[in-house]
Symmetry: C2
Subunit: 358 residues, 2 copies
């Protein structure tokens, strides 16, 4: 860093021409010496590098991308960056991209399909070679058409589309899917509650049409069925996600009935809201009600009590998305990858209260 800038020309970027001139070579040679794309004798190379350093030369990425046809850039699109889960996925993408010298841009849509489309369009203009759409959505016709459009549009310019935790499109659409095995995770954590003796378990946070949540509900139901519990025992509250929703739904539920002994929250934020509502109602966890969450956000172990939940390695999801997309150039289209999860046992699950066990 020392000694930089002594020769800096006042304004305007230094071009490779000036570097070449100073080094006494042509731009072709300068380019090769700088990019290392073609062998150049050590002496010449040194002269060029020296000149570049003296002039504080910075390559113009646009010119480079223009001639090189595309550039090393990945885009990750989430609903909002501040959601811990999305943030982790984005961090994973960023890290894996950075590891290979790729640039990573993030876009936040706020859940607005319009903004999503605009952003994908922008990424097309920018020449992103990889677009990663993260986060569950309701799967309707508009969604399917949108994704089909993205996929073909990106594919036609040689870019890849990855869907993380989203409904998979028709298998002949050139996109690949990477997500967690939600059903298995939900089955496991429900089984954990069942093993503790619970029989009346509420699922809080369904969102019909959202494939991620639907899969969790399916896993939850499967676990109950495995224990020979009738489907009507499956108490699914479709309150959607988020802390506020969890708090509201739990408060109402407690007002209506207390015949359940455990709550399976659709995600940790819902669990946070539910815990608060339970505390507000003067009940204790896990003394009166056991609670489990989903996702294991960083603060889950600081909940009161520390939350038993399912760890979904979100950062790994982001990394996997990049890795897989860049690995299987051909076999990619239509591939569907499932990532494993595992339970994290903390203190929010206990035996059901004696009087209320079935």
């Amino acid at each position: 860093m020392r000694g930089m800038g002594n020769d800096m020309v006042s304004k305007g970027r230094v071009t490779i021409r000036e570097v070449a001139e100073r080094a006494g070579v042509s731009t072709a040679t300068a380019s090769r010496a700088l990019s290392g794309n073609h062998p150049v004798p050590a002496a010449t190379r040194a002269r060029v590098l020296r000149a570049a350093r003296d002039l504080d030369y910075v390559a113009n990425a646009h010119a480079r991308a223009l001639v090189g046809g595309g550039r090393k850039m990945a885009a990750v699109v989430v609903r909002q960056v501040t959601s811990p889960f999305y943030a982790q996925v984005a961090e994973g993408v960023e890290a894996e991209a950075a590891d290979r010298g790729w640039l990573c841009v993030v876009g936040a849509t706020g859940g607005d399909a319009q903004r999503e489309m605009e952003f994908v369009q922008l990424m097309r203009e920018e020449g992103a070679r990889l677009v990663i759409l993260v986060g569950g959505v309701v799967e309707d016709d508009a969604y399917r058409e949108r994704v089909a459009h993205y996929a073909h549009a990106l594919d036609s310019s040689g870019a890849r589309l990855v869907l993380c935790g989203r409904p998979a499109p028709d298998p002949d659409i050139p996109a690949l899917v990477v997500e967690f095995d939600n059903e298995a995770g939900a089955r496991a954590v429900t089984g954990h509650l069942l093993s503790a003796g619970h029989r009346r378990i509420v699922f809080l946070g369904g969102l019909p049409g959202n494939t991620a949540l639907d899969a969790r509900v399916a896993g939850y139901r499967a676990a109950l069925a495995e224990h020979g519990l009738p489907p009507e025992a499956a108490h699914v509250v479709d309150c959607g996600l988020g802390r506020a929703a969890g708090h509201r739904a739990m408060t109402e539920l407690l007002k209506r009935t207390r015949e359940f002994t455990a709550v399976f929250a659709g995600d940790d934020m819902v669990a946070a809201g539910a815990l608060r509502a339970i505390a507000d109602a003067g009940l204790s966890v896990p003394g009166d009600i056991s609670v489990v969450g989903y996702n294991d956000i960083p603060l889950a172990e600081d909940f009161n009590p520390p939350l038993t939940t399912v760890r979904t390695p979100a950062e790994e999801l982001g990394r996997a998305a990049v890795r897989i997309a860049l690995r299987d150039p051909e076999h990619a289209a239509g591939a569907h990858h499932l990532l494993g999860t595992h339970i994290v046992v903390r203190d929010s699950v206990g035996a059901p209260p004696p009087g209320r066990a079935l």
Copy 2:
């Protein structure tokens, strides 16, 4: 969206040439019609737009930036995206950038100066017009030299550098600073504890050399002084930030002494760790010890008990950084903007226990 792609050529991007050809005009006219940079008769314009739509034309941002000299792109650099505070700042930058049609890229450094330099260099190559460095660091010579380098390098290519919550460099360096008034916030929240009757207040989470924390410590000391409390009452534990650090430091502190009645945590994550440690020790908040945090992260109200803290509107910080940088083109260099904060009172502060009040 319907009807797109019928005419799409198999591979290779559609260029403006083909659009022009199809519309029966020259590339010059096509460019003008598409960019709206120069008036074009309505009929011609319509033909061009029609052709572009039919062919699913996507402009090449690189070519555009190459000739146009630069592009609308902002970069925000944080330690890690998963930290709630940084995430909010990044979201603010993203939102404000998106509002003006700018692209926003984020870089995570993991606190590594090397990666920070690489990223800034990359942004220089990419032609970013605005680089926002977020987050406190230790201010040493290496830091100062680094920032001076960034500032001059970016300035020489017409880009702006903004420091958010970072030590301000020499005033003649072409960078501007936007940050919260940490001292005022800390003074206020300390005052809140003092008003509740506390006299022995520990500051947990100092990090000497980190200007943000140092300012909070200064505010804390100032508040004590205003109440006529001697400096030796100022008990500052330099454990740094993060949940783990807070937990460890609090555990150790409780082992050593219990003569304090309140804790001022350097940020909410430290507070989270501290709360856990206090609970582990069998003490209650605020019954035995009162706790306040800093930053008001989204989950702070779900802590046990809900945390009284200082709200630092992080998203607004991000937005302000962009706004200010883009507003004051000239007056910018060396400007120092302070953003206000305010206390959020929740349940983690009470009167000191009768026996232990000074």
